[in-house]
Every structure is written in C-alpha cells, then in structure tokens.
C-alpha cells in the first residue's frame, strides 16, 4: 500500500525533469537534476526560513485568545483563524453564520477594557467608524462587548497591509503614486466628516487582492468638529479631549506630527497629512525621514517634483503643510498622469540615448558602436564585479589586530549577509535545542536575519553591528550542562563567511539558576555587555528563557581577496579604462561628422524627454 503510493508519487514527481539542467536565477548555483519541482533547493529553503514579515513574532504582554476560546464567546460566529495582532488588539477571520459573510473580528486586549475611561472611548471610536462609509475605508459592521471582551466586526479585507508590502520588497515610485491618491481620498472623506485618523501608518493601510487601498483602524479617531450637532461643542471642549490620552501613547511615534506629540488634544486633520507624508516618504525611499529630512530624490532616483510634495506634507508647522489632503491627491495624480512610466529620471547618459532618434547611416553606425561599447563595458564590469565579490568575502576579526591578515586587501564597497545564531553543548556536541525568539535587527521569530555589514578598511568603513537576541533553551539542559551561544555569518550564497565562530557567551544551568547575573560572556569581543533578564522556569519544560542584552561587534569588516584575483582585478581595470577611452575617442570622431540638423533634432528630443 505505502510502497505503491510511493511508487506513484515517485514516478509522477521525478521522471519529468530528469534531464533538465540549469542554474538558479537567484543564487547562480547549478540546480541539481533532482531539485524539487525544478526549484533550487537551497533558495527554496532560504525563502522558507524567511526573515519574517509574516513570521509571527510574539511580543510580551497581551496574548491573543485562541480560536477555541473566542468561539465560545461568539456563538453567532464561526471563527476561521487568527489574522494578526497590533497595538490595539488582535484580529481574527470569522464568518457570520446567519449572513454567511466573512468578516474580520477585532478584539481589544482584556487589560485595556478594565480601564474605566475605556468604555466611553470605545463607543466613541466605534460610532465614528460606523459613520464612515467609503470604499477606501474598512467598514465597521457591528461593535459591542461580549463576555467582557470589546470587539468590532469589520469588513474583511483579503489582502495585506502596506507594512508587509514594504517589508517584502521595495515598491516603485510608480506604484507609490497609484497608492497615495487612494489614501488621500479615504482620508479626505473622513476629514470632511470631522474625523481625524490620528494613527496613519503602513500597518493601517490595507491593500486588497486587486491592489485597492482600504484604510483601517480609525481607532484613535477623535471628533474634532463641533458642527456635528448643537451638543457637539460642549462635547469637544470638555471631556473627550483627555480621553485620547488615557495614559497611553495614542499614535505611533515615527508617524506622529510634532504637534501631536506636544499637544495630543490639539490635533487636527493636518496631523494625518504629516503622517501621510511619512508614509509617502517611506514608500519612495524605503526609509523613515531623519531629524533633518533629506529630500527623497537625494536617496533614490525619482522625479524631483515629488520632493516638494513630500517635504511640504512633512512641514513641522501644521499651517505650512497642505491644508487639505485632497491637495496632495491632486498633485500626485497630476504627476502620475503626466508621467505614466516609472517615475525615475531618464537613464544617466541622456546624450547617448537621445541619439536614437537620428536617422542618418552615420548615426546608425555611431549608435551601433556606442551600443556595443556600452554593452561590452557593462558585461566586463559585471564580470569584474562578480569576480571580485563572488564568494571571496571572509569576515575579519572583530578584534582588530588580533588575527588580522596583513595581506588583506580591502574592497571598497558594502555588502549584505546573514547573521545566524547557533548554539551547541560543547561537551556533547549536541545542538538539539530550540533556539527561539531570536531578535536580530527587529522582531523575528527565526534565528537568523539578514544584516548589512560594511566592507572596507577598518579605519574608514567598519562600523559596529549591533543586534539583540533572546532565546529559549528547551528541555535538554540539565544541571552542569554548558551551552555555548555563537554567532555565525553567512553570505547570500549560504556559505559561512567565516570559518570562525564568534562566541557570544556561554551559559550554564547552574549559573543560570543562581540568578543569571553572574553569567559570563565567553569573549569580550562580543557582546560587550550582556544583561540577563526575564527568566522563566516554566512548568511545561525544564529549560529556561534567557534574554540577553545587545551583542555588539565592533569593526566588522570584510577582507581578503586572494592575490591572484587582485592581479585579475588590476588587469580588468586597465582593460576597462582603455576600452572606455577607445569608446570616447570613437564617439568624438563620429560626433564631429554628425550634420547640424541631426544635432538640432537631438537637442529638441532632449528637451522633450526632460519633462
């Protein structure tokens, strides 16, 4: 029986691709003939390990109820599954049995609902939300309290949020320009009703399967306009102002307008415009704006006119910003319509590309030579770079001078690799522990994480890499056991960058039990400080939870390209230089013979393309 099934699956799965041999488009390694479904196994596994936008990292505090526990509280719903958690609760996918409608059930942390000011805030938020009926805003169907648990039943948005999208990969300016007007439209609608979102951030901007925007979580909405009714005025000027504080940070610091931090109660819709500016900035550059805001075009290649829009939205003074979010929408849409292609400026060598419009045979020859020259340069440069970078990186000692290779040759660029926290019991070699909750650069439940590290001379390029981690050792640690925790480095191709491990520290069961402050760190190089905290002796397992402080590696740099490669690099550089000069000479020679009319047409074309 088994074996028959195995036979079937075997012949079905393996026979059709026996003879395909190609290389992985991602890592370049040859894909073995028995690769699963034709995919490079190492890359498949790397993606499977993930670095986590969808890893379910747990933060301390509120533990969302299980699906079973919720089902008991909501008999009218079929709880389908857990979607995620945010600052204001947890969200589940559910089905309203009677209506046969899929909805999102948002429940608020039970702790919050003990707060006496909460009932009022909750009702207010819910009513404000319920007023907002707009395709760009997540609709609220119902709200209330069930078995002590505050909840909203909301429209279920089948998609993902902008945070996930940004974390998954960079988005193009073109896409940003498709998304922003939709956010503007939804916000303007809310502002017209006197409702300020107050917590615009990527997590609250959802995108459905068709790429349409839905703004969620007007959870901090505050009724600001008195025009809602004759009683409105007193409601505004008295009690509700303070409700927005209620001892919590209402809003997300990175996206919060300066006036919102200073005087939360005085905030108006222009705080949303500021937050939108931050989101826009992040979409364009992949980064949050610094204290001193650099124009987006200084960071990425985009149309400089976007700078003006973003920077004005980010003005510190509300009165200097756009006064209505619809203004942002109009400007962005205009810019998007004028330039339907990607909003990047023209390729860096416009004089060359513009010549594509000339028609003489001379220019055709010129074009051909230039094209071949540029292509050759590109290929050779690519090869050279590949030669220089390919698996040649090794990690220098974190203690400069100690083991430094005097023959080290510095590569003046930067690279990216992976930190991998490993752990063994040196006595037995047993690594059969669970290493969980490791936070390397952000919140992540897996034990490895990509990290950029600088390449270059220690003096100039080396910067410390700082990361924090905590982990749980489960079950296998007995009194007397000693667990060594190490950090290793991978390059992108999954090779160890260094054959040396960087010990982070060793913990023993005994030292741990005698209150973890005495735990010694194996190597002074890393971490420089380690603080033990938060120990649980959990009844479920015999292990313990060690939460370290930060590990810090100073002067991490990447060194050592073999001598032979250096020679090659010199040869290639010389070859490149001479090829470049040759092309320049050719261009000059041909350009002299281009008729004036062709030159004029070139410059006309230039001006057209520069729009």
């Amino acid at each position: 029986m088994i074996v028959t099934a195995a036979k079937n699956s075997l012949s079905k799965r393996w026979t059709h691709k026996m003879d395909t041999r190609k290389s992985c488009q991602n890592c370049g390694a040859p894909v073995a003939a028995d690769a699963p479904r034709g995919g490079c196994p190492a890359c498949l596994m790397k993606v499977a390990m993930g670095t986590g936008t969808d890893a379910d990292g747990e933060s301390p505090g509120f533990v969302p109820p299980t699906v079973e526990a919720l089902a008991a509280k909501f008999p009218q719903l079929e709880i389908i599954g857990f979607i995620g958690r945010g600052g204001m609760g947890a969200v589940y996918k559910a089905r309203q049995k009677v209506l046969d409608r899929v909805v999102a059930l948002k429940i608020l942390p039970p702790d919050t609902s003990q707060d006496p000011a909460f009932a009022e805030r909750f009702t207010r938020e819910a009513r404000a939300l319920a007023r907002l009926n707009h395709p760009g805003i997540v609709t609220i169907h119902e709200f209330g309290r069930a078995d002590g648990l505050y909840f909203f039943l909301m429209e279920y948005v089948d998609g993902l949020n902008l945070r996930d999208l940004l974390a998954a990969s960079r988005i193009s300016p073109h896409e940003a320009l498709a998304i922003v007007p939709q956010i503007c439209e939804a916000l303007q609608f809310a502002h017209d009703q006197g409702i300020v979102h107050r917590d615009i951030k990527p997590e609250n901007i959802l995108l459905d399967r068709r790429g349409r925007v839905k703004v969620a979580d007007f959870g901090l909405a505050k009724l600001v306009a008195a025009e809602t009714g004759p009683e409105g005025e007193s409601a505004i000027t008295s009690a509700p102002a303070d409700l927005t504080r209620a001892g919590k940070i209402m809003g997300t610091p990175n996206y919060m307008a300066p006036e919102q931090k200073a005087q939360p109660e005085a905030v108006d819709h222009r705080a949303d415009i500021y937050a939108l500016g931050v989101v826009f900035y992040q979409m364009l550059t992949g980064e949050l704006p610094d204290q001193k805001i650099a124009p987006p075009s200084a960071k990425v290649q985009i149309d400089v006119r976007l700078d003006a829009i973003v920077l004005r939205a980010l003005q510190q003074q509300p009165e200097l910003r756009y006064q209505q979010v619809s203004e942002v929408r109009t400007l962005v849409e205009t810019l998007g319509a004028m330039n339907p292609g990607p909003l990047a400026p023209p390729a860096p060598s416009p004089p060359f590309t513009q010549t594509m419009n000339t028609t003489s045979s001379q220019s055709f020859r010129r074009r051909a030579v230039i094209f071949i020259g540029v292509a050759a340069c590109a290929v050779i440069t690519g090869l050279a770079v590949r030669l220089l970078l390919e698996k040649q990186i090794t990690l220098g000692p974190s203690n400069p001078g100690a083991e430094q290779d005097s023959d080290a040759w510095w590569v003046g660029t930067s690279g990216k690799g992976y930190l991998f926290v490993d752990h063994t019991d040196p006595a037995s070699g047993n690594s059969d522990f669970t290493l969980g909750n490791t936070n390397l650069e952000g919140n992540n439940s897996v034990a490895w994480r990509s990290v950029a590290f600088p390449l270059g001379p220690a003096a100039a390029g080396a910067k410390p890499i700082t990361f924090s981690f905590s982990y749980k050792l489960v079950d296998e640690v007995d009194p007397g056991d000693n667990v060594l925790v190490q950090v290793r480095f991978f390059d992108q191709a999954t090779n160890w960058i260094s054959d040396r491990d960087f010990p982070v520290g060793a913990i023993t069961h005994d030292s741990f039990m005698s209150h973890y402050k005495t735990v010694t760190v194996g190597d002074i190089r890393a971490p420089q400080r380690a603080q033990m905290a938060d120990v649980h002796i959990n009844t479920d397992w015999k292990g313990f939870h060690w939460s370290s402080g930060n590990a810090r590696f100073d002067n991490i740099f990447v060194t050592t390209v073999p001598y032979s490669l250096r020679c090659k690099a010199v040869v290639i550089t010389v070859a490149l230089a001479s090829l470049g000069s040759l092309i320049l000479l050719l261009v000059r020679f041909w350009r002299r013979s281009v008729p004036a009319s062709a030159a004029a047409s070139i410059s006309r074309n230039d001006s057209v393309k520069q729009i």
């Binding site: 790397k46 993606v47 702790d111």
Partner: protein, 254 residues
C-alpha cells in the same frame, strides 16, 4: 490595578494544533496499535522513503538489494511496534527512521532476507520499488563525496520540499489558479528584491500591486506549509525551528 484576565487561552494556540501532527500522533499512540497512528506513520513513510533507499544504496547495496531492503524495512516498520522503542521524549522522525534503518540493516535484515528468498511472499508488492525511477534518481545524486548519512539528510530535505511544493500546487489548482502558481514560481526561490512583480503582473493581467499581494500570499502560504510539514516530523512544537535550520544546513551548497 488591572488584574490579568483569567483567560484559559494564555498559552499560544500552536500547542493544541500540534497535538495532531503526524509524528506526535505516532509517538502518542506508543504501543497501542491505533489506526490513526498507523495512518499517520504511513503518510510519513510515503513522503520519506526515498532518502532511505539512497542511504542503502550509498552503503553499498545493489539497486535490487536496496529496493528489497527499503521495502522490507517499511513492511516491518508498519506491522511492528518499533515506534514504541523510540525515545519519545526527544525523537524526531528523521533521526528515528535512520536509526531504525541502521539497526534493521545490522541485526534483522540479513536473516529475514535469507528466509524470504526461501520462498516466503513479501508483505508488500516487490514491483513497487523496482520502478526504475528510484534508481534513476539515485544516479543523479552528487558524486561520492557524500556519506550515506549526508545523502540521507539531503534526500530528506528534498523530499520534504517536494511534498510541500506539490501541496502548494494542488491548492492553487483547486482554486483554478495553476497559471498563477506557474507565473509566481520563481518568487519561491528569489530574494525579496529580486522578485519581478511587473513581469508576474503582465503575465497574469493584473496590477503590479495586486501581483505583490499575490506573491506575498504565496510565500506566506509556502512558509506555513513547510512549517506544518516539518512539524509533522518532530515531537514537539519547539523543535520546528531547529529542524528547519537543520534542513537548511543539509541543503546549503546543494
């Protein structure tokens, strides 16, 4: 001032879910020869038999003997109660299977083999494994530098990936989205910034943002399935991450 909410759900949900993974069911069943445990074990064997075949081959057995051996091993495994002898505290299916196979090869197989050649009918059909494809696949394995063990580990990881990808394909096919799966397949091996969303969008006739959403969902689902599949082979939920790393290392450089 605020007391902790006395919710019975203080523990994360995966504990409950985990109780039904295959290997944990098998382990929980222990000596009791329950049907669900048999089914769970059968399911596992179906996915992971090839690595054992490769192991036997690399240990020096001929294709015919290796087929015999693997088959006999599974027959004995499924009818016997070897599982009861597995260290229920920490065992993983991967290690259990290899250890059991080693024991079997040393102690039991020889005499069994001789007996069976005497004319006894094998429990399972011999044709099943004599299909050339197993041997064909074995011939494609990396050259001799691999030990039988490392070959087993690698074959294990490949079988697991294959099984997960097949499930993923079937899920998409059920929704009539085979075309989506095919268009997005490169996104399962690509680094984050190397995914060609525009290309996928063009192929599937959707906006780029919609393609991003689709790719994100695919990758998320893929990760979920692979964690689930790994969970099927370990005894405790805490072991999943570690087993994932083990697989990662087994495949690095393959």
């Amino acid at each position: 001032m605020v007391s902790k909410h006395p919710d019975s759900s203080a523990r994360p949900t995966h504990g409950a879910v985990f109780a039904t993974t295959h290997w944990s069911v098998v382990l929980a069943a222990g000596q009791a020869d329950s049907t669900s445990a048999q089914g769970a074990l059968a399911h596992l064997c179906q996915i992971y038999w090839y690595p054992l075949y490769a192991y036997a081959r690399r240990c020096g057995h001929s294709p015919h003997d290796a087929q015999d051996l693997t088959q006999e091993f599974f027959a004995r495994l499924l009818e016997g109660n070897w599982v009861a002898k597995a260290d229920q505290q920490r065992g993983r299916f991967r290690s259990f299977l290899l250890t059991a196979m080693k024991r079997f090869m040393i102690n039991e197989w020889k005499k069994e083999h001789v007996q069976r050649r005497g004319g006894n009918q094998p429990v399972l059909s011999l044709n099943a494994l004599s299909e050339d494809s197993a041997e064909h696949r074995y011939q494609l394995e990396p050259a001799e530098k691999d030990t039988p063990e490392s070959l087993y580990e690698r074959g294990w990881a490949l079988s697991l990936l294959d099984s997960v990808l097949l499930q993923l394909e079937q899920e998409y096919a059920r929704e009539g989205k085979t075309e989506w799966m095919e268009a997005m397949r490169p996104a399962l091996t690509a680094g984050r910034d190397a995914i060609r969303h525009a290309e996928i969008a063009a192929t599937l006739g959707m906006t780029e943002t919609a393609a991003r959403v689709a790719v994100h969902r695919l990758r998320k689902q893929y990760r979920r399935l692979i964690r689930l599949e790994v969970a099927h082979t370990v005894a405790k939920p805490e072991e999943v991450d570690d087993e994932m790393r083990h697989l990662f290392q087994a495949l690095a450089g393959s």
